[in-house]
Amino acid sequence: MKKIILVTVVPIFISAAPIDGFLQQLEAQAKKENLNFSGFSAKRGEQIFTSKHIGKRGKKISCTSCHTGDLKATGENIFTGKKIKPLSPKANPKRLQNLKKVKKWLRRNFKDVYKREGTAQEKGDVLLYILKN
């Protein structure tokens, strides 16, 4: 029996994209932090992504201020003018491939807009929203 489980589980992990593994990690953490957690939601992710907050340098911003409301569009850092390639992997296949980069930008951008790091649930919600759009 053990052998069968091993055979079926291993290929799933190998074929999965790095982002799926990261989502599983976030899910495990979200369950610990929130007993009522019942999976990530792209809808909550959209809310996190589009709502405005007093962010860095006292400016009222949302994620869309730089990334635009269209995840497939090229954005622009409103502070430096630097162009930002689309977030959606459908428009930019390199997106969400490098986990080191994903973690770095989730940390930085939550601080930019929310002035704090996101929770595991919030990060998962936003990632799901990006993946689905």
Binding site: K56, F79, T80, G81, K104, R107, R108
Partner: protein, 181 residues
């Protein structure tokens, strides 16, 4: 006969000097952009730092400024710009070994360094006295316009800024054009 030869000779000497001079200048120019210490770390610096802004040439600031810069990335001009610890060490190594006071720098880079008070640790290139002097005549509206945003956006006007060339002939101010002093 002698009278004719003399002016020709003087003329020839003059030409020789002119050639030697322009040679010297182009050498200085080449050196100013080409000698990089720890060049293998340059791609990492460029990749990490140019995700948000131009990767400014390390020769713009002295070592003490880069040290402080890399130690304060959690509040990098109001932004969290923290990076991986190992990458941070490597980038600091690249920046300090190419800093204005770590090697011989030429042209504008040298003038920038000379204008910085010894007891100050400048954090913004745009606050260096020589930078301010060179940009003092640029109307504020040219800088504030959306195509430029701020002095930190060198490339908006200096078309070859990426290669470390800030010559006047390559200046093109958006919605204005060439800038002649």
């Amino acid at each position: 006969m002698k009278k004719i030869i003399l002016p020709i000779l003087i003329g020839a000497i003059g030409v020789t000097f002119a050639i030697a001079d322009s040679d010297k200048e182009s050498n200085i120019y080449a050196k100013k952009t080409l000698t990089k210490q720890n060049a293998k770390l340059e791609p990492l610096y460029k990749k990490e730092c140019s995700e948000c802004h131009m990767a400014y040439q390390p020769e713009f600031l002295p070592k003490r400024s880069w040290k402080k810069m890399m130690a304060t990335l959690s509040d990098h001009f109001g932004t969290d710009a923290t990076i991986d610890k190992e990458d941070s060490k490597k980038i600091l190594k690249y920046l300090s070994s190419n800093a204005a006071d770590s090697k011989r720098v030429y042209g504008d880079f040298r003038k920038f360094l000379k204008s910085i008070p010894k007891d100050k640790t400048v954090m913004k290139i745009s606050e260096i006295p020589y930078f301010k002097k060179e940009h003092r005549e640029i109307p504020k509206k040219f800088i504030a316009q959306k195509e430029v945003k701020s002095f930190s956006n060198c490339k908006a006007c200096h078309q070859k800024a990426d290669s470390g060339d800030y010559s006047e002939r390559d200046i093109n101010i958006p919605n204005y054009g060439r800038w002649d002093d």
